[in-house]
Subunit: 329 residues, 2 copies
């Protein structure tokens, strides 16, 4: 919260938010302006979108994906949404309501895919059956189905709501292990190649506090809860570590991620891009894969049609035994 | 502390220390064995020392520099010490006593250099005059005078007591900024070149808890206090952040530093080594430098002969205004 009586840096009207890394306070209108400009800057610097691109936004019902959909629409892009029903109890039910309400109120197109109805499993069941952290099956399912939805719908690019905090936390995890392969791929835009659609992260320059403020000022209702299955994962621990550093040195988090993108990613791209060969079509679904069957179809083979496992059972397991392998980062 | 009744992994005698990253407890004798082996491994993997090298150990009187001197001597290396009197009040006086006592009790050669007597300044005075953080003038003075002592004494290599925690914290700071130039130079051994002596960090695989335990088991008295002028510097904040991560994931800190050395440093070395040209001798002292006068002689010009400033005055300034530029990392 800004100090009582603080003024917007731009117009001197009462401020609604303080942004220590910009060393300034902003009113609602000029917060929106800042967000729009940061998104425009990200799009321009990284060739994320062309003016006439057909854009598919991966919408979760949370603040980030609704904010990016809203900003792109406001900036005049043609952006449709796709929502994936993950079957994570009340959390998913409510998230779907927020996504649908946003789209309907604005007359935007939102396709819904339901893991249970269309693929015979949900995330709690997959986590239980694979004995891995829930984020593992969830990330795999999302990547695969968003890519597929983009191919099916003839979209030019898949946009996700990853913000600066998300990207910095993933970067932090990959850096702690110096996973050079992952580091080389952690870019704000990935070009279309080998059957994968182009992917872009226009919120790469905005923090989660800023995307939340965008939604509040714009009157967008969103899912405020964190996913219950993410509780205790390393991604959240990395966010906490970076937040502690940011409190001591405002701007340190943005510098960490943006300097990586500018200075380090180009060095790494040279060493890791050679490994892209050897892809062919999954014999089951046609998606690009290095194996006979892609990881998504392999997951379906393992978990589809099993009796559904409630969220609480999986969370009980997590609490009893700690987190498994393959954490979210 | 190990749990009551816990046993040494090697001999099943009562343990004196638990090392979560090794998932084991150790008695005093086998803790020493572990330390010796980690140092031997570091020396062998990175070609730090040859059997007949004349080694100069930079001794501060703290646990790390006394431990590395002790371990190298025990392993049969010919290692002399050099102690630099920094003039940081009681802290420096006591540190000097520990260094001298260690050397005298073992009949080892220790050269002492005193900043005030020989160069007309001390660290508090330099920090006050330059209006930078004390660690800046301190690091500059140490690097220069240890290099000079090695050249003057005909030593093959300068050894410092930097441990795994130190190296991981410096790496963390450089990584937060993606300072590619600094990252490329952060190696456990630097070969002799351009008039600079070879430098090595044989404790790179040991934590500060392990070097402290080495000293305790071996009966070495050392300066336990942290340097009062380092209070609040970012290096300590980075150590705290890494310690929080280590508590959640034992071994994460070692993986961060050792994976960097193994996987990332070789990639970076290619991009940064080109910049070594353009060095010549300082017109004042003969040390290699890119300017007319080296940074150490420039510092002396600025601060030598000034009235000495007590530690408390500098610390008062630090507390009032926060830290200046050029922090320790």
């Amino acid at each position: 919260m800004p100090a009582v009586g603080s003024k917007c840096r731009v117009c001197r009207q009462p401020a609604i938010i303080d942004l220590p890394r910009h060393n300034a306070n902003f009113c609602g209108e000029h917060l929106l302006q800042l967000c729009r400009r940061q998104v425009e800057k990200a799009i321009a610097e990284h060739d994320m979108l062309a003016r006439d691109d057909r854009v598919l936004v991966a919408v979760s019902g949370g603040k980030d994906s609704l904010a990016v959909w809203d900003i792109l629409t406001e900036l005049g892009y043609h952006a449709d949404g796709v929502y994936l029903g993950l079957g994570i109890g009340d959390y998913s039910d409510e998230s779907g309501v927020y996504a649908r309400a946003y789209a309907d109120a604005r007359g935007l197109a939102l396709r819904t895919i339901d893991l249970r109805d269309e693929y015979g499993y949900d995330i709690p069941t997959a986590a239980h059956a694979t004995r891995r952290v829930p984020c593992s099956a969830c990330g795999l399912s999302k990547r695969h189905l968003f890519d597929e939805a983009a191919r099916d719908g003839g979209y030019d690019v898949v946009v996700t709501g990853h913000n600066l905090d998300d990207e910095a936390a993933v970067l932090f995890g990959n850096t702690l292990r110096w996973d050079v392969e992952y580091l080389g791929r952690q870019l704000p835009v990935l070009p279309a190649r080998n059957g994968f659609p182009k992917k872009a992260k226009p919120l790469m320059r905005l923090t989660e506090r800023e995307t939340a403020a965008w939604c509040i000022v714009r009157g967008i209702d969103y899912q405020v809860e964190e996913c219950p299955m993410a509780a205790g994962n390393k991604h959240l621990a990395y966010k906490a570590a970076l937040n502690a550093i940011e409190r001591d040195s405002p701007g340190a988090k943005a510098a960490f991620y943006l300097n990586f993108v500018e200075k380090m990613a180009p060095l790494l791209a040279r060493t890791t891009q050679a490994a892209a060969g050897g892809l062919h079509e999954c014999s089951r679904c046609g998606a690009p894969t290095t194996g006979e069957v892609c990881a998504f179809c392999a997951l379906r083979d393992r978990v589809s049609g099993r009796p559904l496992v409630p969220v609480d059972v999986v969370l009980g397991r997590v609490r009893r035994h700690g987190r498994g392998r393959g954490d979210a980062a």
